[in-house]
Symmetry: C2
Subunit: 341 residues, 2 copies
DNA sequence: ATAAAAACTTTACGCGCGTTAAGTTTTGAT
DNA sequence: ATCAAAACTTAACGCGCGTAAAGTTTTTAT
């Protein structure tokens, strides 16, 4: 069996002309059934596939899709990325995964190298506060981009994410209904715009129920949320800054740190009578099941956020890269009751 | 300012001929200093960069490097991947990150799509037991590949990983020195060859110290180690199958599940007198700091494993893709003492 | 059966760059 | 100043494929 070097040779052994073979690889349904059969039969005898570099050089639009997440060490983004990758592959695209690892410089570099990939579209979960807004703006002008998870107002052709109000209202209402109203535990300078929306939602829901909001802001920079949460919680607990026996953490990774601090100080967390504190949180982190105690949390609707993101991107690509108006789709959270609250 | 379309135009505005410009982009030091200066000056005035598809089509060897990990939801691999990515970029290569997500089908697909990327080299952490050995073998014949983390005997040009004996001997010796000898807690059918080496090391070290080894094998398939560990531990604890008050988990993710089960059953874990059980583990998982109690573990030497892997790959690339013999480099573990043991 | 439409074939050019060959200029050592 | 080596320039071909144009065959509709 001779090695097939290029489409010319493959066309020869399949008995079909090269332009038709080229058409087939672009879209198998664009050729006659009998032709398709002959090509596919040849495809089984010889393992040929078009040189993607040559293909991408000559097509105006590649089949590449960029997936950018801010922090891959967060299993939440890994989950989302996995779903996005597979949806892209299923639709015949070639996804490439990138993580900004929490750094603006890296995010910019990724956008830069993404540009040269001439992608059909990009799914971008930006860093948020640390993002270089002007760079992302420029990027979105040239490349069809859907923002997800973290919304940068006005940027990208559309945004798909979670409804932060839904997260917080569910957790706050659950906690107040079954116990004392919670304090809100967050970073002083959150990395992510979702955090601000969650704080606002907390205040609004608390006031609506006639409770006085109590926001605890802890110091810390960067994306090492667990450690920041642990140290912040340690201080808060030592100084007894909690007004009630109930805490709502802005996100699960802070909560993981919080629970760690509680354990270290011998403070028993849970909803049972023998516990001194209840802790709930937001995100539905994959590890929330394994904290001690297991973490009550309002979970992202992973499947819908990821699914809608790719759907929207495909629509965008088919629309030629532009939408007439920028839609924002928000999915509500699903409250997951566990032992911590 | 006119837009530069291709190298021809860029050569024109820089006043240098296209072949020389091409040479510059291949290696800036290969042209005369004055020439380099003129090109770089033009580079500042116009933002041009070579079309990577055209470049890759024509170069025998691309500057692409594939990084494949078995399970990205494990932050351990994210850490390694981050280091590998940055080393590749620093060396002028373009890394692409892939995760097999624990599935053989995906691992094979990744190798397949990697082939068409014509990479200069690949850093592959295989699934292990779930890997399709023959597929990986074929792949390694055609693409310069360094295996890391998980060794498949004889495959790849070299292997870089951790010395499992060092992990287990340190943890076992520490535990026996400061308390009772541990039972070994692992999956009956581990996903990874490292697990087997750890078991063997456990048995050897125990026997060397005159203790009877006690291996506890729990059921469970797949890569959801935390949940497998939790359920397995729950059974073990209920049936009181432990011979001593001391457990060594094969890896940190199992240990996270183990600690979770202990907490659920009200079993206090730690090295202090008021604790019923000591639990240690292996890997140095980024979350091990935040378990309750914090997890004593033998940590991978991340930096060295990652650093040596890329170094070896670069050597391999420079050697033309073949080594005369297949070296296996193992780095010892670093024992991290925390509260759990 | 017949004509129009659809799908195909052949031919040929272009994409952007790597690379080579032959000739020219610059460099640096003597 | 002299000359060989080094670095450059011009010219040209090739990579593998997209794609367009013109002509031919097959399909579909009437």
């Amino acid at each position: 069996m001779t090695k097939i070097k290029n489409m010319e040779e493959f066309a020869a052994v399949s008995g079909i002309s090269r332009p038709t073979v080229s058409k087939y690889f672009h879209d198998p349904d664009s050729v006659r059934a009998t032709t398709r059969a002959r090509i596919e039969e040849a495809l089984e005898r010889f393992d040929y596939r078009p040189n993607i570099f040559a293909v991408n050089q000559n097509r105006k639009l590649t089949k590449n899709i960029g997936i950018v997440v801010p922090y891959l060490a967060d299993p939440f983004f890994v989950e989302i990325a996995r779903y996005l990758e597979q949806s892209c592959i299923a639709a015949g695209y070639r996804p490439s995964l990138f993580s900004s690892h929490g750094e603006q410089k890296l995010e910019n570099e990724i956008l830069d190298s993404l540009r040269s990939l001439k992608p059909a579209g990009v799914l971008l979960a930006p860093l948020g506060r640390a993002s270089d807004r002007s760079q992302i703006e420029k990027f979105c002008e040239n490349v069809p981009t859907i923002l997800f998870d973290s919304n940068l107002e006005g940027l990208g052709a559309a945004f798909v994410g979670s409804d932060n109000f839904s997260f917080v209202s569910q957790t706050v209402e659950y906690m107040t209904r079954t116990g004392e109203p919670p304090s809100f535990f967050e970073m002083r300078t959150p990395a992510n715009p979702n955090a601000n929306k969650r704080r606002k939602a907390y205040i609004e829901v608390m006031e609506r129920h006639g409770f006085e909001p109590h926001v605890i802001k802890i110091d810390g920079e960067g994306w090492a949320f667990e450690e920041i949460g642990r140290q912040g919680a340690a201080r808060v607990l030592e100084r007894q800054e909690l007004k009630t026996n109930s805490v709502l953490c802005s996100n699960d990774r802070l909560a993981i740190g919080f629970l760690s601090a509680c354990y270290e100080q011998g403070i028993r967390v849970g909803r049972t009578a023998d516990c001194a504190l209840r802790v709930a949180s937001n995100d539905g982190h994959p590890f929330a099941r394994f904290t001690c105690p297991s973490l009550t949390t309002a979970a992202h609707d992973y499947d819908n956020v990821a699914g809608r993101s790719v759907e929207t991107l495909f629509e965008l690509i088919e629309s030629g890269g532009k939408f007439s108006n920028r839609a924002e789709t928000l999915f509500p959270a699903r409250l997951v009751l566990r032992e911590s609250a």
